[in-house]
Structure formats: C-alpha cells, structure tokens
Symmetry: C2
Subunit: 349 residues, 2 copies
C-alpha cells in the first residue's frame, strides 16, 4: 500500500506538505502552484489513496451512518431505504445496514457494534414496531444524532419522521364515502402498534364530519404479531370472518396494504369481486399495490421522502455537533399522506 510518505519521497517534499496540499488545508494558500503540481502528480502516479483508518483516528470522524431496520422483509422498507441511501450518497456518507429482526438482543448487539464503529448518526426504521420503551433509553444515552422513521416520539433527544396517520385515516374513509359507500367494514391495526390508534381516530373524525354511522359489527382488529407479512394472513382470516357473519358491506378499509391484499384474496375466494361487488382501500402504497390485480387504491406514505428527511435531520445534527452548537434539539416531522385512487375502489351503483 502506498502511503503519504511514499508520495513525499517521490515528490521530494515532506509528508506534512503533501498532506497540506492534498487536503487543500488552510496553509495550502502559501504553497506555490509548482509544488502543488509536483505533489499532485506524484500522488496520482503512485495511485495514492489516504488510509481512512489513520485519518479517522486523528479526526475522530467516520463519515458513516448506522441504519437499523426492524424488519427488512417488510415491503415498506424498500423505498425508505432507497431514500436514505440516495441522500447519504449525496452527502458523502456511507450507511452500515443492520436488520434487527424485531429482536431485542439483536438490537442491543447491533447498537453496540455501530457505536464501536463510531457512526456519526443513526437512522432507525421502526415500522411495525411494538414499542419497547427501554429501547429508547439505550438510544438516548448513545448521544448520537438519531432519527426514527415511523414512530411518533415526544423525546427531545431523538428526532422522528412520521406520516400523519390521522389525516391518512380521514382521507381513506372520505374517499370511500365520496364514492357513495355507507356500509363499510374496517380492519384496524393491532392495539399495541403505535400507528393504529391515530388512523382510527382519523376515521372516526371523518365519520363524524359526514355524519356516517360506523357499525361496530363491521370492525375487526389485527392480532399482534412480530411479522409484518402476517398482516396478510390475518387480513384474509378476518375478512372471511366478516363474510361469514353476513353483515353486508360494500367497502372495506384495511389497516395497511398487506391486510388489504389478504382481504381481496378472501373476498375473491368467496366469489365477491373487487371492485365490482366490494371496494377495498389500503394504507402505505407499497410497491406491490400498483402491480396488484386489481391495482390497490391506498393512502400513500411518501416513503422515499421520509428517508431523505431523516437523513437530513441526522446530518444537521452531525454538523451541529461538529460546530459545537449543541443547541439543536430533536425535530419531529409529520408528513402528509396522499390518496392514490386505483382500481380496487369504485362508485357504488
């Protein structure tokens, strides 16, 4: 491996000068162009690449950000990760990706490993998380700029980026209502999931606004499960149940896209066509939704933008630390979702 000393020898200057020139340090303005040229030429000729370990050791910087995902297989992750990656790339940071598999032990181990690597920031993708309050404690004492995506927080040491779940719930119901649906079934999220209650609140607010009465016999809850894909099966089972009970409905509002897919499957098996006989709406707009048959009407979370937003918050935090203005507290972004009307819903005739 070629070191700065090799470049020094090759160019005939000291390693100090080489360092100053190649980093374009403040002192470089005193160095005559001729010298700079020789040094740059020598560096290029030898194919010199500075050793990041040595550099980091001195500068105490790693230019690395940790990314913790609670479950990679959740289709929700993909686009968020893309947003994170792309924004980090532009800022010349590299991500270390860790997948916690929804296990506490794994979370702790990874957090330790990341801290050992002196990550400068941390982004936690806490979708489908059954919030364990201790987790936050671990995170807080790490003293590293941290942003959590998909999980509302009141802390002011950890930033958060979430979708406005209440607005999303409102939009979903409003869409069905505007299509003429009055008898609507609901699959709510698991009690313990943090997204569940604001979405339901939005739904009720919308119902009140339009003076629509919600039939409690048409409301079912997803069970708790560590596996995000499980909401597909649960959605299917719950819908079968709803069908069996024969309290008729012309539309179904599912907690998320996965449970909506499950519902469509169940309806289909029962000979109920979507959207001809029953409209279905989901939440999230995962990649599959546009590809489904029928394509799924849903409430889109701007996932890529959320990833981008989290990175920007974290990089701000990093810069604040560097400039020793420790004033910037945590910021909490709540982004607006957007209704995407597709084939799975239609006007009631």
């Amino acid at each position: 491996m070629v070191t700065i000393r090799d470049v020094a020898k090759e160019s005939g200057f000291s390693s100090t000068t080489v360092s100053i020139v190649l980093n374009n340090a403040p002192l470089a303005r005193y160095i005559p162009p001729a010298t700079k040229n020789k040094i740059e030429h020598a560096a290029h000729k030898l194919g010199y690449r500075p050793n990041q370990f040595a550099r980091s050791l001195r500068s105490k910087r790693s230019h690395t950000v940790g990314v913790m995902v609670f479950d990679m297989t959740d289709p929700y992750c993909t686009l968020v990760l893309r947003g994170i990656e792309n924004t980090l790339y532009q800022a010349s940071y590299l991500p270390i990706l860790t997948d916690v598999h929804n296990e506490r032990s794994r979370f702790e181990r990874y957090l330790e490993l990341l801290l050992d690597r002196r990550i400068e920031g941390l982004i936690v993708l806490a979708n489908w998380l059954f919030l364990d309050i201790n987790l936050l404690g671990d995170l807080e004492k790490s003293r590293i700029p941290t942003a959590m995506i998909g999980c509302e927080l009141k802390t002011d040491s950890i930033s958060s980026v979430i979708v406005d779940n209440e607005l999303g719930g409102y939009l979903a119901l409003e869409h069905l209502y505007s299509l003429g649906h009055r008898k609507i079934a609901f699959i709510r999220g698991p009690r313990a999931l943090i997204d569940s209650s604001p979405r339901w609140r939005g739904i009720r607010r919308c119902a009140r606004h339009y003076e629509l009465e919600l039939d409690p016999r048409l409301v079912v809850d997803l069970p708790e499960s560590r596996d995000p894909l499980s909401s597909f099966e649960a959605g299917q089972k719950l819908t079968e149940e709803l069908i069996r009970l024969k309290h008729s409905f012309t539309a179904l509002l599912a907690f998320d896209d996965m449970s909506a897919f499950g519902a469509i499957r169940a309806l289909n098996h029962a000979g109920i066509r979507v959207p001809e006989h029953c409209s279905v709406i989901g939440f999230d707009d995962v990649a599959t939704s546009a590809l489904y048959t029928p394509s799924l009407t849903t409430v889109r979370q701007p996932m890529e933008a959320m990833g981008e937003s989290a990175v920007k918050i974290v990089i701000n935090g990093i810069n604040a630390v560097l400039e020793k203005r420790n004033g910037v507290g945590a910021s909490h972004h709540k982004v607006a979702p957007e209704l995407v009307a597709r084939e799975s819903t239609r006007k009631l005739v």
Copy 2:
C-alpha cells in the same frame, strides 16, 4: 472517551498488560487470574470500548464487507439481502450497503469509496444487470474476495452464485405440460439480460423431451430496460398484444414474476380469468407472489440461501488471504430452483 491508558491507570498495570488481557492474546496465559480480574474490572467500571480506528490501523482489518446492489427497488433484492445480513451477523462482519441505481458512474464512485474503507470482501447483487464487461475489470483489479449473485461468470478471480436458469425454465414448462396445457404463450426475457437465454434453452429442452411444439406466434420478448419494475408494464403490454392477435393459448409462461403480474392484469382486463381460462406461471418467487390474487405459481430462486452462500464464499476468501494460502480460486455455485405450485395454474379441463 476512555482509552486503554485510562484502564491501565485505573488498574495499576501498563497498557501492554491491559491489551494482552482484554484481547486474550497468546501471552495472556502467563498472566495471573488476579491481574486479569483487576484489569477486567477496571475496564468494565470505566466502560472501556476499544477504538476501532486505532485497532484497524494496526491490524489492517475492518471487519466490514461491501454490498453493492444494482437496484434496491427490485423486489428480488429483499430476501437476498436478508440472507447476506444474517450470515454476516453470525460471522461478526458489518455490511456497508450501496445501491448503484444501475448507473456506471455510481458503481465506480461506490467501488472507490468501499475500497477506501478497506472492505475485506465484496458482494455484488447483479440481478437485472445488462452486463458491462468493463465492470468486471474494475472488480478484478480490486484484489478483494468478491462474490457476484445472479450473474454467471467464467472468471476465476470473482466467485458467483446463480440459480440454474435452464433447469428453472425446464421445470416451469414441465409443470404446465403436466397440467395438460399444449397451447402455451411465452414471454421471454430481454435479449441482453444474461438470464434470458438459459431459461429459454431449458424451455426448449423440455419441449423436445415431451415432443411439444412451440408456436413462434405465441413467443414475445421483453424489451430492454434499466428498471426491473418495467417488466410489469411490458408484461402487460405484450400480453394485450398476444390477446389481440387471437392465437389462442391456455397457459402463459412469463420470464419473471413481475411480467407474470403484468400478464395477469392484462388477462383480467380482457375478461380472461386466471386460472379458470388461462394458467400463468412466473419465475423468482418474490414476496408478492404468495400474496397475489390469485397467488402465483412460480419457479423459486432460493434467495436467502443464495445470499448466505455468497457471504460464505467471501468469508472463505478473507480467511484464505489472512492465512496467506492464496490457493483458493473463485468458486461458482449454481443452485437448483424449485417449482412452487399455487393458484395461478390449474389442470386443463
């Protein structure tokens, strides 16, 4: 930050001894338990964590593996990444994730960044790659144990893990044939895609074996595109085309799951029910396939196992480098796919 010298001071021993004890180095066997206890106690009391920069600088090891994905949004990636992550975790390596977005410039930039970080191994997820031969040159001269997933290679400096595409094609057609289908439409992969021709070869071999005649009017090709999701739209368009031409078929064999989804959408819009009027089979078994309505019969690539396999190859390579037995050439794994029969295909009546 607490350093090894702080621990030395606290425990009353020199930093040398502390280092030996905490790393359980060979010399540690001479050190009396009492000393070890004191040192460990002091380290724990101070919350000492060795500085990885300093450590890496000395040892020249990073315990880091680079992972390059050509397009994160390809649903094919998810499970492979899970396999990679999990296997690295068990071996105490951390992954740096980079997404090349199918752009050459991004590939080069990322490769440089990863090399600067002294990654010890590299895993390239080259699905949906329109193989640019120069790419390999860059990779080869990096001199780092590298495994490429999803791209057949003859090089013996870069390992590869691929699915047996020919076998997969064979299995797909055999499945349709065994269900009684004789008039079968085919959506082939893009010419430039490396997977396309072996899959088609397998299909033809199967046809020969069963003396099935393939109707060239029922064979269409996906266009080339950088975007893996585009094969959905293309699949839909091509299927619409096939329908319009009115050369009837009772089954359709798609190049991959995405194009199969597109085909199902087109068939559905034309009033052709799947599987009642037409069977459809895909390739890959992405997560969505099991959730689709109807659930998709497909040829499964063991993606998680492929990720695991790539990591094991790379770690083997790393160990070989460490032990200076540079004997291990590249290894090329070809794993068998597996037919997964679901709802989208059924017996011809």
